[in-house]
Amino acid sequence: MGGRAAARLPGVQHDWDRESNRVTTDWAEIYAATYEDLVRFLHRKVWDAGRAEDLAQEAFVRALGLSPAQSPDSPRAWLFTVAGNLARDEARTAIRRRKHLTLISNEEPEEAPDPQRDLEETEKMGEVREALDSLSERDREILLLWDAGLSYAEIAEQTELSHGAIGTTLARARRRLVDAYEATEGRNVAHP
């Protein structure tokens, strides 16, 4: 992590660790404030709610394994970096995941499925996914980080872009996402 000052969340308690001479982080507070954002961020990378939650939890477990001396300057940016890397690894082990999903598919669902609702959700998710896939990797990453609630400073730290470039990239990414989504919707309406 860089040498930036610690990014402080409102209400997050930061203690001073005398031994390591560093600010330690209250991960419980960060967990409460960030977990859902992290899951949403990961969901748009792996497109599986269960896997997204697993990866988010894994990121927090790793964070909890850090000693005070290893405590990152910007905990949220650190979490999203680790989570993003985990998701990338997840994609690389797609074969293993497919095996896993095969096993899951053999299990009985907990609730009776609603075919109509499932179909609509699947279609909507497919359209969003297609629209996101049309973006460049960097545009998509920055857009998802912004949507997850990270500040421009945190996004800049994670992506190593300058603060000023974040707005430009976001402007481009938003336009492309909306255009691609509308195009996908129009295509589906024309050819349902």
């Binding site: 209250d26 419980a28 939890q57 894994e58 293993r96 995941r97 912004w146 603060h163 974040i166 938003r174």
Partner: protein
């Protein structure tokens, strides 16, 4: 002033526009007020921003239920334990990679971690020693096997085998699966590795080692040493035990040594089995890892009452002597006779006998069955005290009121699956009931430990008697299919009429 760039408009809408001076900010707003083009682009930027937000929000998971933070802390704790043990399969595999220098199926270890914090240099120092120790065992066993072969009548076959082994090249060496190298991967892989490795030893871990600051977290971790004592029987491994491996650390330096090791392992199945047994023995000691996952207990590992718990209750002779002397002096000072002060020695009740016997296992006058039987009654008695009636000379028999069936209620937490509403104590302590496996173990401190399992659903419950027949305690529940992922919470057992 020239037109405002789109990026700056978006940053301003996001509340992240930075201005070097108040004058620059004022100029920005002034321009927006007079430039219709920029205002139109600002409206467009606002529309795009809202649309993008709507699109993304439509694709998210509907309901996200964060697990209890303590659950993640428990997982982190277990992981630190395993890493400190230094002998997980993934770590051994990573060591193999370092020794052999093989590529292709090996992933980058640091790929999922940001550069800097997160890596543990002490871990990488320990792993080679573990691998070196296994090589030493394999070589030693191989040498032993060779000695046997030399003395056996089938000695003539050895040169043939050796000549074949001499032809072994790198390409012939067994290629390890990719999974074996993934020591830093997704939870699935980690769970798989955890399942394969089983519970790992814990060496004097302190909860302070984790960066846990919340009060709830501290309480949760503070409870763990107590649990470790409950599971008992664990002795921390001697940290110096593996130091002998230093003498063979230079084995790592050469690939030739690695090839030799593989050959020896192929030749000597006996050595392989020995090494495997050594690892299994090490793991069987680890009931502490069961604090979060309790995997060992779920696999029918024996549950014993910890000798350390008994030892704490044994009063020492040295502690009694000063008190006796003090009492004698008080009698002398008061000018009283001993008979006038000292109460008549009461006939010890059977309960006292049982308690005393419990305090000192050296008491050979009391059969072990009686001690355990008395202990077993403690937690389940709903009327009177254990052995009271017997002490009064009453006809004892079965006059103790025991509860063998309890209604189970959880308090303040939600288990990940439906727990049984009624727990019935099997006559033999353990047994099958309606497809569920139940085992009851009575503990010395008016407590009972119950393990319940149905399919891959498992609960380990420890409850202490709080009133006549009512027990309170905590339960850890988990799904076998999800590895060591465990949830725990308070439970209450209330006696009911057995169905």
């Amino acid at each position: 002033m020239s037109h405002i760039p789109d990026g700056r408009l978006h940053a301003w809408l996001d509340g992240a526009a930075s201005f070097e001076s108040a004058a620059e900010e004022e100029s920005f707003h002034t321009h927006l007020g007079v430039c219709e083009d920029c205002r139109a682009r600002l409206d467009e930027a606002r529309r795009l921003r809202e649309d993008a937000q709507t699109i993304l929000s439509d694709s998210g998971p509907e309901a996200i239920e964060p697990p209890a933070f303590g659950e993640l802390e428990a997982r982190a704790l277990v992981r630190v334990h395993r890493e400190r043990a230094g002998d997980s399969d993934a770590e051994v595999a990573a060591s193999v990679r370092r020794v052999t220098g093989r590529r292709g199926t090996v992933r980058k270890v640091a790929e999922t971690e940001p550069i800097g914090p997160g890596r543990r240099p002490w871990l990488s120092r320990r792993v080679p020693l573990a691998w070196a120790a296994s090589i030493v065992m394999a070589i030693g066993a191989g040498w032993f096997g060779n000695r046997i072969l030399e003395e056996s009548p089938v000695q003539a076959t050895r040169p043939v085998a050796q000549s074949k082994l001499a032809e072994v090249s790198d390409a012939d060496l067994p290629v390890l699966e990719e999974d074996a190298f993934v020591d830093d991967a997704s939870p699935d892989v980690l769970r798989g590795a955890a399942d394969a490795a089983g519970p790992q030893p814990v060496d004097n871990f302190k909860s302070e080692d984790l960066s846990v600051q919340s009060e709830a977290a501290r309480r949760q971790f503070a409870a763990i040493p107590d649990e470790q004592e409950r599971f008992g029987g664990y002795e921390a491994p001697d940290p110096g035990a593996g130091q002998g491996a230093n003498q063979v650390a230079n084995v790592e330096a050469g690939r030739e040594a690695d090839r030799d090791a593989v050959r020896q392992r192929e030749v000597s199945q006996e050595g392989e089995a020995f090494a495997l047994d050594a690892r299994l023995e090490k793991r069987s000691d680890d009931e502490v890892g069961a604090v979060a996952g309790n995997r060992a207990l779920a696999e029918d590992a024996p549950i014993v009452i910890a000798p350390t718990v008994m030892a704490q209750q044994v009063p020492t002779a040295g502690a009694e002597a000063p008190a006796r002397e003090q009492n004698e002096e008080r009698i002398r000072n008061a000018g009283l006779s001993r008979e006038a002060v000292a109460p008549a020695a009461a006939e010890p009740s059977l309960e006292d006998v049982a308690v005393n016997a419990r305090k000192s296992r050296a008491n050979a006058d009391v059969p072990a069955e009686f001690i355990e039987g008395a202990l077993a009654l403690d937690a389940l008695v709903v009327g009177g005290e254990v052995g009271k009636d017997e002490a009064k000379g009453a006809d004892t028999g079965d006059d103790k009121e025991l509860a063998n069936c309890f209604a189970l209620a959880v308090e303040g937490w939600k288990p990940p699956f439906e727990l049984p509403s009624v727990l019935v104590r099997p006559a033999e302590g353990a047994g099958e009931q309606d497809g569920e496996n139940v085992a009851w173990t009575m503990l010395a401190d008016n407590s009972v430990r119950i393990r319940w399992r149905s399919g891959d659903q498992t609960m380990l419950l420890t409850a202490r008697r709080v009133s006549a027949g009512a027990l309170e305690g905590s339960a850890a529940v988990w799904l076998e299919s999800r590895g060591a992922l465990a949830t725990r919470g308070l439970v209450r057992l209330s006696p009911i009429a057995c169905p």
